[in-house]
């Protein structure tokens, strides 16, 4: 049996990959520190609790990226002839499901605090001998928990596009949008200070809606990925033009009369089949081997396209 070839990023992308891993490690440590700081200052604020959950959850894409980065490049073997690439999609499914579920829970939770008119009590804190309202400290913690994330997100976004890494892309987008969460929670706390007890829960509801929306978007993507939807680009979810390129490349061959291509995504890479109707049988095996190699050379993402000769192709619908 012939397992698929081992995968490594092409040399020019390996630097990007290393940089992405470094940024994700920084993200993990930064988020952990933000989670601790926010937990210590959270008090009774529903908005802050919600923002805290979001920070906690936004660990999942970075952690699953780092874990899958260790696994996906393992050599295919007898047991896993297609290699370990799907691990990326599974990690993606897990992180988006977590987002979706917790978003829903938090929306209910903050809705309940409004209905029950549960008023947040925020009292005094003593820090370095000064006693002041805890709300100020909460605002400080929220700024720490959101501003650096925006810069990390901006740095990761272009890497995710080049590496065709959806997990990283989700992560970068979430980081980039983190300032909105932070701002909403800050507005909520400032509102509490003005005696508007509901401002806090309203901000919390808004944040949880955002988490729910992120979760839904990504969950949908993760599910269709695992269902072998045709490959889509990372940044705008359009059909990858590479599919057309493969078809056109094969159509230009004189020994091919007709061709149909189907591809699927396995994490970063594409695999699939090209069904060709040969115009002549002479040197067919050699032609096929050559064409397969040429397709591989079009783009690193076209990891393995199996060319199968057939007598005729079904009519396209």
């Amino acid at each position: 049996m012939r397992p698929i070839e081992n995968f490594e990023y092409p040399p020019d992308l390996q630097k990007d990959f290393e940089k992405a891993k470094k940024l994700e490690w920084i993200t993990v440590f930064y988020l952990l520190s933000a989670i601790v700081v926010m937990y210590l200052t959270m008090g009774n604020s529903q908005a802050m609790k919600t923002a805290w959950f979001e920070d906690l959850l936004s660990l999942t894409p970075s952690v699953s990226f780092l874990i899958s980065a260790r696994i996906f490049s393992r050599k295919p073997n007898e047991e896993f002839p297609y290699g370990y690439h799907r691990v990326v999609s599974i990690a993606y499914l897990c992180s988006s499901l977590a987002l979706f579920a917790v978003g829903g829970f938090l929306l209910l939770d903050s809705g309940m605090t409004i209905v029950e008119q549960d008023r947040p009590t925020i009292g005094m804190i003593t820090l370095f001998g000064h006693s002041f309202w805890l709300g100020y400290l909460m605002i400080g913690a929220l700024i720490y928990g959101s501003v650096p994330a925006v810069f990390l997100g901006r740095m990761k976004l272009p890497l995710a596009e080049r590496l065709h890494e959806k997990n990283l892309y989700t992560d970068a987008e979430m980081n980039k949008a983190d300032w909105m969460t932070g701002l909403a929670a800050i507005v909520g706390i400032i509102g509490i200070g003005f005696g508007l007890w509901w401002a806090d829960s309203a901000a919390a509801a808004l944040i949880s809606l955002d988490i729910l929306h992120d979760g839904y978007k990504n969950l949908k993507q993760a599910v269709v990925d695992l269902m072998n939807q045709e490959p889509k680009t990372v940044n705008n979810q359009e059909t990858d033009p590479l599919i057309k390129l493969v078809r056109e490349h094969l159509s230009r061959k004189t020994w091919i009369r007709d061709v149909q291509v189907r591809l699927r995504e396995e994490g970063h890479i594409y695999m699939g089949e090209a069904f060709v109707v040969p115009a002549e049988d002479l040197n067919l095996t050699q032609h096929i081997e050559e064409a397969a190699q040429e397709i591989k050379n079009i783009n690193w993402r076209l990891h393995e396209v199996v060319i199968t000769p057939v007598k005729e192709l079904p009519e396209p619908d």
Partner: protein, 155 residues
């Protein structure tokens, strides 16, 4: 950058405000130069019932707190359970009963930060939920009494 500056400016503005944070139900405003309604349940040496107004460590603290606000106190004696229920209905501003932070009644009322630790017991008072200006005023007052309290309650 602009956003950061705006944030800092905003925070500085609020910090400069005398009346920030505010109470949703204006408790502090009403109590200042008005009446502080205090519920108490006996629990010596914290609250001691007498023929007239209550004594004990906490009652004494509240008398000083009220004096600082220029408020007169209306004392209301009841069981702890009933006091909490009345606090929930906002019929009282404050409950003292030698409470500790272990108190399980946490749903519709709030407790102050512990103002004193005796062995394992962290002592607190009960207040209405979300009246943050009032809570902050009380907690700041209690914080200032910390040193004095440690001395007077030392064995």
């Amino acid at each position: 950058m602009k956003i950061k500056v705006l944030f800092l400016l905003g925070i500085w503005l609020f910090a400069g405000c005398e009346n920030y944070p505010k109470d949703p139900d204006k408790t502090l405003e009403k109590v200042r130069h008005g009446t502080l309604v205090v519920g108490y349940a006996e629990n010596p040496p914290w609250v001691i019932k007498t023929a007239t107004e209550p004594g004990g460590i906490e009652a004494q603290l509240i008398k000083e707190f009220a004096a600082g606000l220029g408020a007169r106190i209306q004392w209301q004696n009841d069981t702890e359970q009933d006091l909490f229920e009345r606090l929930e209905k906002k019929e009282l501003h404050l409950v003292i009963a030698g409470l500790t932070d272990k108190n399980a009644w946490k749903s519709k009322i709030s407790f102050t930060k512990p103002y004193l630790q005796k062995e394992k017991d962290k002592h607190v008072m009960a207040v209405q939920k979300g009246e943050n200006a009032f809570v902050l005023e009380l907690e700041k007052f209690l914080k200032n009494q910390e040193e004095k309290l440690k001395k007077t309650t030392a064995p």
